[in-house]
């Protein structure tokens, strides 16, 4: 996987923003992006993920993108039954939505495949069980089970973003 950032050579592209970008090849450690590591030309790869440098330097982004891209390489029937492939567009949309919600210090979620060709991000930490489900033909759903407050709720992600964000301090890596 490669990622681009706002440093280095500029390329025409589509992506999470329309700013100039550069391409980097992992392993790129968090907080380690440097112009000297930028590639001189855009890589030809279907595993390219485009994101702003600030996003790449966040705690969660690269591990999450890698996990999702790995799942996007699973063949149809990966569940030993009839599960479809996970399309790249599902991964891109999931990353785009998460980028608009999560904080720089948010811990990387575990990423699991769904039998409907989607992915689910989930955190089990900070006394919380949080799941966000991204499926190709349905609105993203979020659920929060607060083990400390003994409360539980779920709903459409888009209409519960602020509510979800109120839990993010508890989803930071120690």
């Amino acid at each position: 996987m490669s990622a681009n950032a706002i440093a280095g050579p500029s390329f025409r592209r589509r992506g999470l923003s329309d700013r100039d970008c550069a391409y980097f090849v992992p392993p790129t450690h968090v907080g380690d992006l440097s112009r000297k590591d930028a590639l001189s030309s855009p890589p030809v790869s279907n595993e390219l993920i485009e994101a702003d440098a600030a996003l790449i330097c966040s705690t969660w982004f690269l591990p999450t993108a890698r996990s999702m891209l790995r799942l996007a390489r699973l063949p149809a029937g990966w569940d030993s039954r009839g599960a479809p492939r996970i399309e790249r567009t599902v991964v891109e949309n999931a990353l785009l939505l998460l980028a608009g919600i999560l904080e720089v210090q948010t811990a990387p979620p575990a990423i699991v495949p769904t039998v409907s060709g989607g992915v689910q991000a989930e955190w089990h930490m900070g006394g919380l069980n949080v799941e966000i489900e991204f499926n190709p033909s349905a609105e993203a759903l979020v659920s929060v089970d607060d083990l400390q407050g003994r409360s539980e709720w779920e709903g459409a992600l888009r209409s519960n973003i602020e509510r979800l964000q109120s839990y993010l301090p508890r989803l930071e890596s120690a």
């Binding site: 799942l71 699973l74 990966w78 569940d79 030993s80 039954r81 009839g82 599960a83 479809p84 575990a110 699991v112 495949p113 769904t114 039998v115 409907s116 689910q120 989930e122 089990h124 930490m125 900070g126 006394g127 919380l128 069980n129 799941e131 489900e133 759903l141 659920s143 089970d145 083990l147 779920e154």
Partner: protein, 128 residues
Amino acid sequence: MPNDDPSIPAEARLLRRVIPDWIVPDENTKTKRVSSQAFCNSTGENGMSVFLEDALFAEGRDVASVVTGDYASHSLIAVTAGWVRSWQQGVIRDPLPEESSHAQVIGEKNSNIRRKLARQYEWVVGPR
């Protein structure tokens, strides 16, 4: 209540194969747990594939025999028939030519039901 076979007692253990990708870390308990996504119906079907532990025993088989060969990377968990029935699910026998102990947990499994089902299971064959 969806289709249900009352000859399967509430205490009967239903064994579910779990692929490695459905096992996630749980920092709250410092253990690994099974994602709620492991409690989905198979694509295009109204049931979740399981195996009846009693049927395996009746054949003199070890329960771990269902996670060998092509499934050697899978883990195995057990839930009771009573537990799944408490979440509006039914349990029916669904013997296959190659696996006579096969059964199905029938019923819609929306995200809420899946999370509830995932709250109570036992590891039979833990993460590999």
